[in-house]
């Protein structure tokens, strides 16, 4: 049960210490930075930035995400290979979203219902009339 093996008990002294504890100051500083950025995000929603709104929001969220990844997830002290794998996944997310979104923007128009289909009763007599006109 409580037969836990302290490394001081003589075990596990074979390698160097691989734990990199974050200092409490760092953790608190990151937390307050994240809270501050959240307040900014909420505050900016009351202003109208027009087309830049999504970009602003995503930029702030990405800054927050980088803070969380670097400090809370210990990426700065971690093996670079782990960071490469994780950040690499975002490259594929980017490819996925950009290509799907681009495809949707370019082809969705072809599949939207046409006016005649939405209001056949009104549109049909017009067709007859217009066909006869020229």
């Amino acid at each position: 049960m409580s037969a836990h093996a302290h490394s001081d008990d003589g075990h596990g002294k074979d390698g160097h210490d691989f734990a990199h504890p974050m200092s409490v100051q760092t953790l608190l500083a990151v937390f307050f930075a994240l809270t501050f950025l959240t307040v900014i995000t909420v505050a900016q929603a009351s202003f109208d930035f027009g087309a830049f709104e999504v970009a602003t929001v995503m930029f702030i969220a990405t800054v927050k995400a980088v803070l969380v990844m670097a400090f809370f997830m210990h990426m700065i002290a971690d093996k670079p290979f782990n960071a490469i794998i994780f950040i690499g996944s975002f490259v594929f997310v980017g490819l996925f979203v950009i290509f799907t979104l681009g495809d949707s923007m370019m082809t969705s128009g072809s599949f939207e219902p046409r006016v005649e289909e939405l209001a056949p009763a009104v549109a049909e007599p017009m067709e007859v009339q217009v066909d006869g006109a020229p």
Partner: protein
């Protein structure tokens, strides 16, 4: 396990130094660091699959928002920014306590580890409590996914609905009752190990109802303000849009209303001209289709743009809150936040497991992997909420 008989060269990979293995080191690892690094690589790979899994939903969000930005702007008004912001703060704080828990486990601060894990669990429960208020409030209003959506702007708060909040609370009530019974039993038997686990868990279960109370308080504040303003502020453009779509069902009528008001889209003068001169035309939609036919025949390019605007986007702008369009927004909302909430529940599960092991003092300087891995998972869940909150709650 044949440890003695194996020759040193062959046996090294196998169990050559079993006598030197601390109990936490699996026999197929040489050193605690190797064990830690292997586990860490594994959890990072799992996080990659999680990122890709959520990216599918973010992609759906991006497509629908690009196609119908006005639906997202209109429906986002129904999400309570205050509750979302509170939940963001709670999750950020739980991330802090989780990172702190990893630190405690690395420094062998066993009491601190139990405390920070319990704090993380409590924050997770508060998050779910606030979410329960949000969901039950929306279900009662009929703000449901496409197909179930029945929100009626003339009667936004129907009373003939089941008590959804109670349904959500029942599993948590059962959990609370179970933990309290466990605590009482372990107090009676004076089992210190069980008391040390059941006590923080009781606090954790109570925190769900703290979250429910907090959410109810904030939601009721919003509600009274809404009634004072006569829905003018909170519903905004959405309210105006509903009234219009409720009045007119047929497309022709919708288009006529838009043309009459002339506010939404610059209506081409020639459409109205045709309307006034030609007695056979029964509405602007007919005029429009006539116009389209004529443009097609004549091959002029200037009018085509306006015709497209009238035929496509205007009608949807009027229909922002009809069941299909608004329902699509709420489908995405429930899917993304719901799967996020399921991840919170899964996180609660593994955190309880960690809490038990922390009380048992399983972790030390050489063996803190499980705390670190769960921490990484928990931070990823936080990371996803960091993107979800502004994308869903903070549109305009």
């Amino acid at each position: 396990m044949s440890t003695i008989e194996a020759s040193p060269e062959v046996g090294h990979d196998e169990h050559g130094h079993d006598h030197d293995h601390p109990p936490f080191l699996a026999h197929h690892f040489d050193t605690p660091e190797q064990q830690f690094d292997s586990g860490k690589l594994g959890i990072w790979l799992f996080l990659v699959t999680e990122v890709l899994f959520f990216s599918g939903m973010f992609c759906a969000y991006a497509i629908f928002r690009a196609l119908r930005p006005e639906v997202f702007e209109g429906c986002s008004q129904f999400l309570n920014t205050k509750l979302g912001a509170i939940n963001t703060g709670v999750l950020l704080f739980s991330s802090l306590t989780m990172a702190w828990a990893v630190r405690c486990s690395q420094l062998e601060q066993h009491k601190g580890l139990v405390g920070t894990l319990a704090a993380t669990l409590s924050c997770a429960m508060i998050f779910l409590g606030v979410k329960a208020i949000e969901y039950s409030h929306k279900w009662a209003m009929g703000l449901l996914p496409a197909g179930l959506f029945f929100y009626d702007p003339n009667n936004p708060h129907p009373t003939d609905h089941p008590n959804y909040l109670l349904f959500i609370c029942i599993p948590f009530l059962i959990a609370l009752a179970g933990v309290v019974i466990w605590l009482v039993l372990s107090l009676l038997t004076a089992n210190r190990f069980h008391i040390a686990i059941a006590m923080p868990l009781t606090v954790v279960c109570l925190c769900f109802f703290v979250g429910v109370g907090l959410g109810a308080f904030l939601e009721s504040g919003e509600e009274s303000a809404e009634h004072l303003d006569g829905h003018a502020d909170s519903d905004g453009l959405a309210g105006a849009a509903i009234v219009q779509s409720a009045e007119s069902n047929a497309i022709a009528e919708n288009a006529a209303a838009v043309a009459a008001s002339g506010a939404m889209v610059p209506v081409d003068e020639s459409v109205l001209e045709i309307l006034s001169t030609d007695p056979t035309n029964s509405g602007v939609a007919s005029g429009l289709s006539a116009l389209e036919q004529q443009t097609a025949a004549a091959g002029t390019s200037t009018i085509t743009g306006d015709g497209e605007v009238l035929g496509g986007i205007t009608t949807t702008e009027v229909d922002v809150l009809t069941p299909t369009t608004a329902g699509v927004f709420f489908s995405i909302y429930y899917c993304m936040t719901g799967i996020h909430a399921i991840h919170i529940l899964a996180g609660i599960g593994v955190l309880v497991w960690l809490l038990v092991r922390a009380v048992r003092r399983d972790f030390n300087r050489q063996y803190f992997g499980p705390v670190d891995y769960v921490g990484l998972y928990w931070h990823l869940v936080d990371l996803i909420w960091i993107y979800l909150f502004p994308l869903l709650y903070l549109i305009r």
